[in-house]
């Protein structure tokens, strides 16, 4: 009951802010050239949905985002496991990883365009590059912090390194890996949209930049709403997947 009440209060405040935005837009307090007001923004969004104009660019954006992110997950987890299990690999590779991690993923765009051209493959590569570091560092951390008792058990039971990795290390590393994956999916969306804007590849990002050049502010806001919803949905989805896969942890 209390939760419903607070939910209502939250919704009330949100609607109040929307109303304030609408009133400010109607009273021309906000320049109508830039700020179209919520009614026009949502009308534009509805028009996109009704005419079906939304689906193709949205599909392209989602595809690039997930292709890059999944590639980063595969590479990050595999490489993380390898680096964690060998102190030589750790000494050789970890400093390079630490150096590359703070590099803005978008800074890789210009050289990637030089090498791969203006293509889908280029965007997917840059997205994967941006996403891989949090997953890699999470995986290294996770694979290394296996409980000593389990190390003991795997030795007593004569597990091969593969079996030990699969049966003990991967499950115990999952929370750290998921933490990295959740950070990465947000990066994936940002890098995808930035890449589309720069390389003029059809997608939500490109759509919005074209709208800005034509001063179609309602299109920009409709795009912001779509990208916000996409960010929310992907974060929520991973959270649920994490809760589901790690439900043993709560017990």
């Amino acid at each position: 009951m209390k939760r419903i009440l607070w939910g209502g209060a939250g919704l009330g405040l949100f609607c109040l802010l929307l109303l304030a935005w609408k009133l400010a837009a109607d009273a021309k307090l906000l320049n109508p050239l830039w700020f179209p007001g919520p009614d026009r923004s949502f009308a534009k969004l509805w028009e996109w949905i009704a005419t079906g104009a939304l689906w193709q660019p949205l599909g392209a954006t989602v595809w690039r985002m997930f292709a890059g992110w999944l590639a980063a997950c595969a590479v990050g987890i595999a490489l993380g496991a390898a680096i964690a299990s060998s102190s030589l690999a750790r000494k050789l590779l970890q400093p390079s990883a630490e150096f590359l991690r703070p590099l803005p993923a978008s800074a890789v765009l210009p050289p990637a365009i030089l090498v791969l051209g203006l293509s889908d493959a280029m965007i997917v590569f840059v997205v994967a590059f941006g996403c891989v570091w949090p997953i890699l560092l999470g995986a290294i951390q996770g694979f290394r912090s296996l409980e000593p008792r389990l190390v003991e058990v795997s030795r007593l039971m004569n597990f091969s390194p593969w079996k030990k990795a699969w049966a003990f290390q991967l499950p115990s590393a999952l929370p750290d890996i998921f933490a990295g994956m959740r950070v990465s999916i947000a990066i994936a969306l940002i890098v995808t949209v930035a890449s589309e804007m720069l390389s003029s590849q059809p997608g939500i990002g490109y759509l919005m930049l074209v709208a800005a050049r034509a001063f179609r502010s309602a299109d920009i806001f409709a795009g912001i709403i779509v990208l916000g919803a996409l960010g929310f949905a992907t974060n929520y989805g991973i959270q649920r997947l994490e809760d589901h896969l790690l439900r043993w942890r709560a017990g």
Binding site: L92, P110, A186, M197, S217, I220, G223, G228
Partner: protein
Amino acid sequence: MAAIFPALVLLLWETLSRAGVLSEDGFSRPSHWAPALVKALGDGTLLTQTLETFGAAFQAVLIASILGIALGAVLGLFRPLERAAQLTVDALRPIPSVALIPLSLLVFGFSREMSAAVAAFACFWPILIVTTASVRGVDPRLLEVGRMLGFSSGKIILKLALPAALPGILVGVRVAAGIAIVVTVTTEIVTNPRGLGHGMTMAAQGLQPDLVWATLIWIGIVGWLVNWGLLRIK
């Protein structure tokens, strides 16, 4: 040890490049990067661009700190307001910062403010969340004392709550500073004709691959130094 892996990669790169396996137009030999880097550093272009990027990032952190700390202090002190605002925060926070580039472009045109506004949006959330949590964690007895002394709400926030919450808030500002540079460079690369990001885009369009790679290395070094410095402040 740390240098072995990068050295091997660069050596392989150089060899394949000389053998003609990697195209000169895109990959550019590593041995060409150093002269390009020295030249760009020597004639001052790289430093001017770096200052421009840092200026925009600093502006972003400043704006985000003022707004984030002010709002965070209010939300942290008034629990009902925080719970009511939760939904709005949850709805706005997932908006990727780059989604605001077209809007910022319309409002500010090509300018330092354009990058700063986009980066400030990205920096605002960590500062807001950390400030809210730190102010909420301030010992209630301290605030009680303020009320007994008849302080106004504003005075309680400024004189008691914020100083007590400062260590936590600084953590948020530090995280935001790292984000600010990444988002500023991104905005510059995508549209804004300023700073390091634009320098790279121009070099790529002018078919100077050596300068592109040299700038990338420079951004890597600067980014790493900033990161290192920020960790040091702790």
